[in-house]
Symmetry: C2
Amino acid sequence: MIERLCIVGVGLIGGSLARAARRAGLCRRVVGVDADAANLQRAQALGVVDRGCADVAEGAKDADVVLIAVPVQATEAVLAALKPVWNSRAVYTDAGSTKVNVLEAAERVFGSLPANFVPGHPIAGAERSGVDASHADLFRHKRVILTPAAETAPAAVQRVAELWRGAGAEVSEMEPLRHDQVLAATSHLPHVAAFALVDMLGREDETEAIFRYAAGGFRDFTRIASSDAAMWRDICLANREPILQRIEGLRDELGQVAALIASGDGDALLQLFQRAKAARQRFLDLYENNHHAQ
Amino acid sequence: MIERLCIVGVGLIGGSLARAARRAGLCRRVVGVDADAANLQRAQALGVVDRGCADVAEGAKDADVVLIAVPVQATEAVLAALKPVWNSRAVYTDAGSTKVNVLEAAERVFGSLPANFVPGHPIAGAERSGVDASHADLFRHKRVILTPAAETAPAAVQRVAELWRGAGAEVSEMEPLRHDQVLAATSHLPHVAAFALVDMLGREDETEAIFRYAAGGFRDFTRIASSDAAMWRDICLANREPILQRIEGLRDELGQVAALIASGDGDALLQLFQRAKAARQRFLDLYENNHHAQ
């Protein structure tokens, strides 16, 4: 049982974990820290947190588990604010979408990685954000990746894993760099591609005339282009190299498809599309297997 | 009232139009033509067509409206098969995803464009295909673009438009080349990009490990990569130049995003992502306005 859970950043992720932890009876009290006073008030009014607090150190002081759920570029400032009240008996974790940069930030702040800091990433985004979008079921059947380092205490990893499992998530561990590479492929690249395609079409004079004839396929393909722009700027800057490699790979692949179209090589095009379709089916099988209980 | 509606190609599109026309009381008899005997039998068993027929000329002989709903590369062969029984009192239309190549095919077959041939495109794809996936509501609130030429008889256009409107669609007219350019932007490019991205990830050694951590955003972004591979090969070859231009445009845009990430230009990245998000909202407003009755 967590006596006092502190959530720094009571948005979609932080708010949803607070709701889930409370519902599962995993914690007695939830303290929410947020720089946005209106958001904090809203979180209290919704019953997501018991107490709101504008100051990180004050809110986290007596907590036994602290979740940092802020935009990934803000993590270092939060760690620095936590440093004066850092408690060796407490456990700290984060929910940032990139992990190498979070480990680097912790090393910069503390000199070396604290044994009770467990970097993590719940893979449960949504276009909507803010505490109003939060709900206790957000993490059900979702994956949470923890990226402990050699210095991280196994007991701390265990405690954080239990919290996420209690919220319904499936927890696994991964090397931080590996995490960033995998997410660059399956999340960051698709987001960049969707933003790029919609921006390209949206900048044209006749955008409305074009969009008027777009259908359900376009709607789904571009759904992630409605994601939070500032969050994705941060992710792109935080995970620069893996994302750049993936963008280059996609540009190459598009060039190959273009070459096949230009030369009229129908057989090779068919093979490529069939291969893609089969690969997506492999993804769907894994995805639906993981979500079978929903 | 159509006495005899002939559907050449009783798949998702042809089967759905037959069902819709029948339900709306727009036609007395539906004759289905399909090279696939099993599919034709299935269409009869489902009551989608009254009579099945393997031969195009025989099936279309006494029809007053003929819909060609075959893969776009097969249209020319169907037109050639129709030529001997081409009836000046009947109206002919097609449902191909590209239109310039269909007009060119008709000109090759007939020497000039028949006044009673109205090229058309119902924008109502789906990953599923075949008569089993067909349903009478497929075209409700969907757009159908007709691309008549100067030679096309207005009465023929009118008749085809009424058929689609009777099936619940919103019908508009467009220049054939313009159609192909608009669809290259909103449909063909997203399909190529989704196929390319999934193929790129699917060819790697560790595909399963990567796919395992992909989430709902990836599922939606890649949904169209589950589309029929042969159909998309045909579309790419039929609409070569507009698609190649769009692929090049996307590669350029991805290059620009990569340059912003590489140089760490967060402000410009934020602007681009915000612009894309706003553009998608403009699309959504148009899309939802069109689908408000659903």
